[in-house]
């Protein structure tokens, strides 16, 4: 137990990085996932096709592969850099790209399910007053679709929080990597350290589930 107390600053720092990864990737994947969903329901076959291909590839590739690709492929081979001298900034953004690219595919599919809950008549009424397709999507369909999928979005966010641990694969010092380091430093306190980190994740994820559940009920569209 002393090990956990002693290393508390390190642990908190690690979780702070986990939170940063989650928030930044969450925002990017929400935006990108919405764009993908719009592509997948658009009347243009080219956009629909591109969206479908993207989602199917990203959704069916293990996240570890995607993150490693971002670290090695983008980072090392293609030399994508976000900071000339700070490696941790580079690995943070490279893993954020991977997490966002991956999560966006799931956001897209959840949102598409949400779009399917919006009755066809809503789009027809929108078109019949002269709204264009993008306006219909933005003003009528998506606002209702988002409200229908708040609870599944909560699940995606919980998955994302846990998925940030994969960033350890390319050396991002988030919770999972720090935990391994602490195991090495405190061989006699593996279980307390493990429990400490596990508790940290529960502290992050549990409120998300509760909050999104409540939000989903509050925001539901009554028909």
């Amino acid at each position: 137990m002393e090990a956990v107390v002693e290393e508390l600053p390190v642990i908190l720092q690690a979780f702070w990085l986990t939170v940063k990864l989650t928030v930044v990737s969450g925002v990017i994947s929400l935006v990108w996932g919405t764009v993908l969903a719009a592509m997948r329901v658009s009347p243009l076959p080219v956009l629909r096709g591109a969206g479908t291909v993207y989602v199917n590839i990203l959704r069916n590739t293990p996240l570890t592969l995607i993150i490693v690709f971002c670290g090695l492929g983008l980072g090392t081979v293609m030399n994508v850099q976000f900071s000339a001298d700070d490696l941790s900034i580079n690995s943070f953004w490279l893993s954020t790209i991977g997490l966002s690219a991956y999560t966006a595919a799931f956001v897209c599919e959840v949102l598409r399910a949400g779009i399917n809950t919006v009755p066809l008549g809503q789009a027809e009424a929108a078109r019949s007053i002269g709204l264009t397709f993008p306006q219909t999507l933005r003003l009528i369909i998506l606002p209702q679709a988002f409200r229908a999928v708040i609870a599944p979005f909560g699940s995606l966010l919980i998955a994302l929080i846990k998925n940030t641990t994969v960033a350890a694969a390319i050396g991002v010092a988030e919770a999972a990597l720090r935990m391994k380091n602490l195991f090495d430093a405190h061989g006699d306190a593996v279980i307390p350290i493990f429990l400490g980190f596990a508790a940290g994740f529960v502290v992050l994820t549990l409120p998300v589930g509760l909050l999104f559940g409540r939000l989903a009920r509050r925001m539901a569209v009554t028909r």
């Binding site: 009424a125 929108a126 002269g130 264009t132 306006q135």
Partner: protein, 251 residues
Amino acid sequence: MTETSGSAPLVNLAAVNKHFGDLHVLKDIDLSVARGEVVVVIGPSGGGKSTLCRVINRLETIDSGTITFDGRQLPAEGKALANLRSEVGMVFQSFNLFSHKTILENVTLGPIRVRGVPRQQAEQRGMELLERVGIASQAAKYPAQLSGGQQQRTAIARALAMDPKMILFDEPTSALDPEMVQEVLDVMVGLARDGMTMMVVTHEMGFARRAAHRVVFMADGQIVEQGAPADFFTRPSTERARDFLSKILTH
């Protein structure tokens, strides 16, 4: 033929055909509607009445033939099509009010987003329209909080807010509880009196007699017969129409 003078028909369908797969839903339809005319479309279920309405604002595309509105051929897509639709109001059987918007927002959305009317002006006009259809006091509520009759009157106000040249009604009262039918029909009769061009799919013969200039009887994708309401209801000239009328009259 780009004439838009008062005498040219507002809508003209010529030799219009429409299929759903193998099903031939509109068969060589010729029909025109004059400015200010109120046309009631009547006929058995599946006869193509809804489809006839929906091709006029191109919610359905057609396979062959031509449709002109206000002297211009219907645009195929894009901004031009959106513009056309903004000039043709549509009132649906199931109201289709925007569920996540208040009653007033339902009415002001089109003017603000399509016409670029400033919000305050749109709201003022919206309240006038809600007043006209008798639901101004419900302006801040959401559609689900209103009765069917109130929702349908909102839908009519939403269509009117665009200052359409014509309004299409597809069975506007058939989803309503009986006691709410009249309040909606009264609003529609008012519109007809004010000279709105209307095409109304309905089996409400009271409305047809009070407000329609012409009744079009449609069955199996064809216009079987048409005429003034008084003539059509009392002396239908085809067997098909007689048969249909005898069925709805006994109910």
